[in-house]
Amino acid sequence: MNPTALPATLAALLPLAAGGGGGGGGGHSLPFVGPGTYLIFGIVLAPVYLMVVAWYVGEPSDRSKAWLGVGYLVGLTTVLWGSLFVATMAIDVLFF
């Protein structure tokens, strides 16, 4: 690992400690650049990335089964939020 990488990561997390939390982004206005983004996508979800990589590499593995797994992950996420979107839009029309 690059010796400067760790301090850089810590620097990215520092705004959390600086109380920027509720304060409107500390200058970050584009998606995927704030410390919360690092926290969730860099730390919390890291085991998921490792899992998907492990599906494709190592033995025994099979590309089609790995794609089946990825298909489940992507498909279920889409179904979950897609159906919620449709259902809530229907409620919006029916009740409001």
Partner: protein
């Protein structure tokens, strides 16, 4: 240590699919009734808004805009996390004794996580807000908002659990297909897309990695992380911030999840004569885990009480004093303590052990953990580190609308198990195959 279930036949596994009893129909009617009662009240909330729950603003219920809805959210999500932790531990740590209840735990996770999501949906008032406010704001707010982290990781977690189930079910359906109902053949055809026996070892390795991801994410990052961070980022509420909340939330999750698994496993065992499939040793083992997690739960409560009254910041001290003066809090503690003492007594004198007693105490633990979570939410709000809401009249009492949602979600979980048990085997074939070795299809 594993228990010997190798003499159990495959017919035993598919017994729930083939049988239809009066008790089954009665339970289904009760579950639908519970959901119906909730639907009736929920329609009122949709028509009139959150005002029907007293959670709509600061002007009612003693300044408590979050109540049973959020308490029940944490409770359900805790049951969900603990359930899959047990299932993943079976695979990762080789805890074969619990193989007969592993899939029941996975199913409990999916059902409980759905209910947790529903409580968020209910609590935002108009359900379309979840989509219209969360989806457009998600890309930018995920940087700062614990609510967005919550939505992100719970989605990921639900998807992981469902993927886990969808991949493991293929092995069982292939070998039990001739015993499964022909009417559901299209469902099985979709589930078995591209199946060949060659994939078994590959899929086994893939689900090991899912279990690995789950066992790191669920205890360390979700219920021991993101969910308590959700509260910790609102430090103006006394008792919500602090490093002890992560472990505390986790201990409550594990305690309630083991209770839930004990109840579900005992219900299936009784309904389908599964004494050999889910032997008493499984319940003795689950009981010991319940006692152990209960001990940690009680210790972390002691931590919070002592650090809250011994030279604590003034508002935290006041909030803690109110908490320990609340009889309901001690009811919650007492219910967990009772279960723990029974388990420890059984360790000393095994003849005391009875499954019905353990089930009854597990119900008590579920009530206790729910009460603790609701008090945590409500009392945090009532004892904020500012006086802005001191003049808000009233006290918080869960409204019939909120209570009906609790009833409805319990109905949803019961209905889920009733329906799923008619479609797939709710106990893995591995449970009756010694040391995971495949047996002849004969």
């Amino acid at each position: 240590m594993s228990v010997d279930t190798s003499d159990v036949s495959r017919e035993t596994l598919v017994r729930p699919i083939g049988q239809l009893s009066k008790q089954y129909l009665a339970l289904m009617a009760a579950a639908l009734g519970a959901i119906g009662i909730w639907a009736f009240f929920y329609l009122q909330q949709l028509q009139h808004g959150l005002i029907v729950t007293n959670l709509a603003d600061w002007g009612s219920g003693g300044g408590v805009p979050w109540g049973l809805y959020i308490g029940a959210f944490i409770w359900w999500v805790g049951i969900a996390h603990g359930g899959i932790i047990l299932s993943a531990a079976v695979r990762l740590l080789g805890m074969d004794r619990y193989q007969p209840v592993a899939r029941l735990a996975e199913l409990l996770t999916i059902a409980a996580l759905t209910c947790a999501g529903l409580f968020i949906l209910i609590h935002v008032g108009r359900p379309d807000r979840l989509v219209t406010s969360v989806l457009p704001a998600w890309p930018t707010r995920v940087q700062w908002s614990p609510l967005m982290w919550d939505v992100t990781v719970i989605t990921a977690y639900f998807v992981l659990t469902a993927t886990y189930l969808l991949l493991t079910i293929r092995y069982d359906i292939h070998r039990l297909r001739d015993r499964l109902p022909h009417q559901l053949e299209p469902v099985y055809a979709v589930l078995m897309l591209g199946y060949s026996e060659r994939e078994d070892a590959i899929v086994e390795r893939m689900v090991w990695w899912i279990a690995f991801a789950i066992i790191i994410m669920a205890p360390l990052l979700l219920h021991g992380g993101v969910i308590p961070w959700l509260f910790a980022l609102l430090p103006s509420m006394a008792g919500w911030a602090g490093g002890v909340q992560g472990p505390s939330f986790l201990s409550i999750a594990l305690t309630s999840a083991v209770s839930g698994i004990i109840i579900v496993a005992a219900a299936f065992r009784r309904a389908y004569g599964w004494e050999e499939l889910i032997p008493v040793e499984v319940f003795q083992g689950l009981g010991k885990w319940l006692g152990f997690f209960g001990l940690i739960f009680l210790w972390l409560q002691l931590q919070q009480v002592i650090t809250g009254i011994f030279a604590a910041p003034t508002t935290l001290q006041h909030a803690t004093e109110v908490k320990i003066a609340t009889p309901l809090y001690w009811v919650a503690i007492g219910l967990v303590l009772l279960a723990m003492l029974y388990v420890f007594a059984c360790s000393l004198r095994p003849s005391l052990f009875r499954i019905p007693v353990l089930v009854a105490l597990s119900f008590g633990v579920l009530v206790g953990t729910l009460v603790e979570k609701v008090l945590f939410v409500v009392e945090g709000l009532q004892h904020a580190h500012f006086q802005l809401y001191d003049g808000v009249p009233g006290v918080y009492v869960p409204s019939p609308v909120e209570l009906s949602a609790l009833l409805g979600t319990v109905g949803i979980v019961v209905l889920f198990f009733l329906v799923v048990s008619k479609v797939i085997p709710v106990v893995e074939l591995h449970a009756i195959e010694s040391a995971h070795e495949e047996v002849d299809d004969a």
